[in-house]
Symmetry: C2
Subunit: 313 residues, 2 copies
C-alpha cells in the first residue's frame, strides 16, 4: 500500500486534516471546530482520535501513515517545536510537536499557518515549479510565507515572510503588532470593513457591527461607489506592499490567497496595476501575480509537505 | 604552492583587483582607473595585463590562479554572463564573462557589484557565520544583496536585494528608476546633499555645487543644526527601510556599508532607534545591525568568493 502523511491545519475556528500521498494526492479530508478554550492538551487528544477515525474510514491502516505536519496560528520556536504564543487560541508555551508525537506515535513537523499555506501553494498550487514564491494570505490579518526551491525560508527566528507588517504608512492606523500603518492595517479584511464603516457604507440587516468584508466586496461588485473606492484603496496598498516585497525578493511568483482573494478581478485589476507601477521593471517583468489555487486546503497540503520533508521524502 | 583566485571589483571610477586564498587571505591587491569610455574590449584587455603583472610582482605564478570572480556596476544576465546595461559606464550588451575567460584563460564568475560586496561581508566581514545576511551599501545610490547560508540569493532575474528601490514615500522625489519616493531618494548620499542644499546648508569653498555628503556629515558632527536634521532624517528613512526589509526577510545580520556608513554613530544611533521602533520585536530581537567591516575591499573579497564557488571550493 502507498504511504501517506497526515497534514493538519489548525485555525482559530476550525481544524482541517487530510491524508496526503507523496505527490499531493488527497486520500481523505476532514474538518471540525478547534475549541481552543478546552486547552491544548484536550485539543490535541481529540485531534488524535479524529484523525485515526478518519484514516480508518478511508481504509488507511495507521502503519501506512509515515508522519504528520501541522500549521498553527502561533509564534513557534521551531527547533524545539514549542508554541510560544497563539494569541487567537489564548495558548502560551505549548510543546505541540512533542505532544502530537506522543498521541500519534509518528514523527511530527510544525510551523506557523501562513508558512504551511505558502508551502502548499508552492508545492502543488499556484506556485508549482517556481524557484521562488512569495505567498500572501489576506484575511483578518495579512500573513505570508516565502518558499525557495521548494523549501520554506524561515529566517533567523521563523518570522520571514511577515509581509503584513511592512510599515507602509508611518503615521497610519495602529496595528495589532503595536506599530502603525502596517500593510495589515491597510489591506486586510479588517481594514476594508473599518474604512467602509467609517465612510458610511450601508450595513446589512444586522446593523453596522455585522458588516463584513464580503458585504463590502458584494456592494463594490454591484457598483456602490464608496464600497468600490474602499476596495480599490485596499488593493492599491496591497500592490504597493507586494511591489516593495518583490523589489527585495525578486520572486518568480506571488500567490495571493485567503478569503479576500476570492473577489477576483475586483481585487486583482487594481492590485496588478499598482504592483506594475511600483515594482522595478526588471522585477515586474519576471514576476507572475496570481490568485491561490488551493483555497482553504493550502494549509493542509503544506502541512503534509512539511511531513514528507520531515521523513526525508 | 597554495592556490588563489582573482577577485575583481569594477566600479564606475576605479577597478580594484586582488589575489585571494581559499580562506580569504589577501595575497596582493591593486587599483587603477576604470576608463569606461575606452569601451569594454579595451578595459578588459588592460585589466588582464594589470592582473598578470600584479601576480608576477607578488611572486604568484599564473598556474596558481584557479579562476576569477568579478562584480560589475551593471544589470547582468547571469546564465550567459552578459552585461545587459551598465549605466555609469555607458555599456550595453557586453559578454563580460566570455571576454574575461578569453583574456585570462581561467573560469570566470560574474555578478553585480552590490551582490559581490554583500557576499564579501557575509564571507569574511561583518556577516561572517550568520545564516542570513542583508547587506546594504550607501553611496550615490543605495544597493543591496542577500546571502543565505553563504550563497547569494539572486531571485528570478538577479534583482534580489534591491533595497534602494523600496517605495517608502509614494508621492516623494523622482528616482533614477523612474518611480517616486524609493529609499534611494531618501537615504543615499545624493539625497543628503539634495536636502542640505535645499535647506541652505552653507557650502564649501567650491560653492553649492561642490557640497558633498561628507561635508554635510562633517557639519553635522560639528553641531550644525540643519545638517544634523538632514542626516537624522536620512538615517530615519533608512531605519524604516531596513525594518521593512527585516520584517520580510528576518535576517540574522544587517550589514550597512558604503561611504556614508563611515559616519559612525552620527548615522547609526538614529538609524538603530528607528529600526527598533519599526521592526517587529521578534524580528528586531534576533537581528544585529552592524557597520561593514571590509570597507572598500568588500567587492574584491566577494568577487574572490564567487570565483571559489565557481571552481567548486
Amino acid at each position: 500500500m502507498n504511504p501517506v502523511v497526515l497534514g493538519i491545519d489548525v485555525g482559530g475556528t476550525n481544524i482541517k486534516a487530510g491524508l496526503v500521498g507523496p505527490s499531493g494526492e488527497l486520500v481523505a479530508k476532514e474538518a471540525w471546530p478547534t475549541e481552543g478554550r478546552l486547552g491544548p492538551r484536550e485539543v490535541i487528544r481529540r485531534l488524535a482520535v479524529r484523525v485515526k477515525a478518519m484514516a480508518e474510514r478511508a481504509g488507511v491502516s495507521w502503519e501506512r501513515v509515515q508522519g504528520a505536519g501541522s500549521g498553527w496560528p502561533a509564534f513557534l520556536d521551531l527547533p524545539s517545536g514549542v508554541i510560544e504564543e497563539a494569541i487567537n487560541l489564548g495558548w502560551k508555551d505549548v510543546p505541540v510537536a512533542a505532544w502530537l508525537e506522543e498521541v500519534l506515535q509518528k514523527p511530527v513537523a510544525v510551523d506557523n499557518d501562513a508558512n504551511a499555506a505558502a508551502l502548499g501553494e508552492a508545492w502543488i498550487g499556484a506556485g508549482q515549479g517556481a524557484g521562488s514564491v512569495l505567498c500572501v494570505t489576506l484575511g483578518t490579518g495579512v500573513g505570508g510565507g516565502i518558499v525557495f526551491n521548494g523549501a520554506l525560508y524561515r529566517g533567523a527566528s521563523a518570522m520571514a515572510g511577515e509581509i503584513g507588517h511592512l510599515p507602509l504608512k508611518p503615521e497610519g492606523e495602529p496595528c495589532t503588532c503595536g506599530r502603525r500603518g502596517c500593510l495589515e492595517t491597510l489591506a486586510s479584511a479588517t481594514a476594508v470593513v473599518r474604512e467602509a464603516r467609517r465612510r458610511g457604507v450601508a450595513s446589512p440587516p444586522g446593523g453596522p457591527a455585522a458588516l463584513t468584508a464580503r458585504d463590502v466586496f458584494a456592494l463594490a461588485a454591484q457598483g456602490h461607489p464608496v464600497a468600490k473606492e474602499v476596495v480599490e484603496e485596499a488593493a492599491s496598498w496591497l500592490g504597493l506592499g507586494l511591489a516593495a516585497a518583490a523589489n527585495l525578493l525578486n520572486p518568480e511568483v506571488i500567490v495571493v490567497g485567503g478569503g479576500m482573494a476570492e473577489a477576483g478581478d475586483l481585487l486583482f485589476v487594481p492590485l496588478e496595476a499598482e504592483f506594475r507601477r511600483r515594482a522595478l521593471p526588471r522585477v515586474a517583468r519576471f514576476c507572475r501575480l496570481t490568485p491561490a489555487l488551493l483555497g482553504g486546503s493550502a494549509g493542509v497540503f503544506g502541512a503534509a509537505r512539511l511531513a514528507w520533508q520531515r521523513v526525508g521524502r
